[in-house]
Amino acid sequence: MFVLKLIARNALRHKLRTGLTILGLLVAVTAYGLLQTVVDAWYAGAQAASSTRLITRNSISLVFPLPLNYEARIRSIEGVTAVARSNWFGGIYQNPKNFFAQFAVSPNYLDLYPEFVLPEAQRQAWLRDRKGCLIGRQLADVYGFKVGDVLPLRGTIFPGTWEFVVRGIFEGSDETKITRQMMFHWDYLNETLRKSAKQRVDQVGIYIVGVQTTEGAPSVARAIDATFRNSLAETLTESEQAFQLGFVAMSNEIIAAIRIVSYVVIAIILAVMANTMAMSARERVAEYATLKALGFPPRFIAMLVFGESAVICAIGGGVAIAAMPYVAAGFKHFAGEYFPVFEVSTLTLALQAACATMVAVAAAIVPAVSAARTRIVQGLRAIG
């Protein structure tokens, strides 16, 4: 009890310094947590992927389409339950900065994505309207789209201005689903192309293939690719997760940079914290000598220094971790446009705690050792 009291009193001796150090820790641990969550957000698409969906695309690269007649051939493969079409549209809404995903899809697309919840009435309204489109909740919130709105898009891949009518707004089944996207009828796209660009008719960007079981998925993927081997458009079929991770991998040096930088902030705060502890220990050389003269062992002195460091880090780190969900919510409000899914994971909280502990220990090592080694006579001679 006495020890704890002494540690607490020591920590509070320079209230301003302790307060500033705690504030610095708070900022650093929060920044670290946010960066970890940003990296998680990058993987949100892959996390949300279903293991019973496969993606079939042209093996050369995504910019090459597949013929429409592959649909029937894929459906006839053993283990396939459903096949849906999807084309990347790449239109611009008002300004190139307003980026969001738009897909031209077949009517059965939503059956393969049970995580997108759409009221039956809206679904029927969409199916009946050739120019109708569906909007995800996150996207609707960003631009304030409502059912019945007309949504004009300027095509980059498909020239011209395209107009769509919002017929439904779908919700994600939970917070981790990205609903920042728009879907419209593949048939609308195809029939418009039939009038304007005949050579681009009946082409499909990717096929989404539903399979019966997760275990059967790899063999189905192999069977699909074998069917189209040596054809004009060879396919590459992979799980939805692998497909999504492919996108993440293309910017993996950015992710690596963010990861490195998230440790730089810990290094910065370590320097600040080590400085605080070094200053405190230096000021108290005479006191440590007195304690030693009274018979306290070096171990005790070292413990005092470690204890003080631990108290400061526990407060700073604790407050940061406790406030994390609120900070993340605020960040999402501010930058939700870029990170539709921004959830703080338990792992992130644990890593934050680990970092605070690491800083507490590392900052106290040098001052603790030198304090423990203080020679009584020299220490007593030292002034303040």
Binding site: I60, Q199, V265, N275, M279
Partner: protein, 388 residues
Amino acid sequence: MGIPLSYIIRNLWTRRLTTALTAGGLALVVFVFATVLMLDAGLKRTLVTTGEFDNVVVIRKGSETEIQSGIARDQARVVETHAAVAIGGDGQPLASKETVVLISLLRRGDSRPSNVVIRGTSPMGIALRPQVQIRTGRAFRPGTSEIIVGSSIAERFDAAALGGRLHFAQREWTVVGVFDAQGSGFDSEVWGDVEQLMQSFRRTGYSSMVVRLASSDVFERFRADIDADPRLANESKREQTFYSDQSKALSTFINVLGLTLSIIFSIGAMIGAMITMYASVANRVGEIGTLRALGFRRRAVLSAFLVEAMLLGLVGGAAGLALASLMQYASFSTMNFQTFADLSFQFILTPAVAVQALVFALVMGLVGGFLPAIRASRLNIVEALRAM
């Protein structure tokens, strides 16, 4: 009269450990800040040097990139016969009709494929880009399945080394040369014969065209004519503008992310500087009293402590910048969001970046040292002298 600088410097030197730790924190922030600016400078330089000023890119109206664009053969003929297009020694227009698509290749040491730009071009297309020089091997021969690769592709993709074979579009393609495009975006591309590639990819039209202007000042007329011609649905941009426009999204992203981080991190470092400066004031109350008693004004004490804080910032800034300058040996590659293709670029330390980083460091020192310096200047002479 001011307090001598040597007094200030010695104060920092006396408390070496504290000075080093505080400057270390500041240095790390400056390192992050400078690296971000260097990355952005590198990205901009890469994409700006990709273009020649007198070259003009023609794409389909509304498409943002060459990949999205398409130009029919008859349209291409209309464009290349325009009077503003320069004529070569052999009487042919200096125009290259190209097809640009993406292929996925495996990066060295990576199991996931990256998208790489493959450009179908012609000997004319190579001639139109004087910065492109064959480094090893030779140029592709028109009419064959030969390809040449940019230097950063050759380095990062195993299959794309000299003599390597790539399989796509039902054909084997042999790498017969590696070209150096002096750090421009072409270094991240694969080039081959346009007719062969179009045939293999079963394309009937080109993606884009590059033409050399007869003289610099005819651009506006050329642009207006292409825009107005009812046979065409194309638009034209100077090659330099075209490529630097493609850096915008990635550049904004790098800047927003990097600068937000730098600002948050700087809070931590400024708190460090503040702690150090407060301690520096507290340890020297007696000294400050003496200085005041000797006749130094409050303003002199204030500026002495501010200069001390800024020196601390400068030391940190210089260290951070030195650390960041090592990054010039590294290169960075990522997907350009706009073109969807892999692009590799360098960290470039420009004088502007160095100045910005040092100013940032000085400001951090100044902000951190401001409150402690005020406290020092407000000390009462008698009480301060008693503290001795």
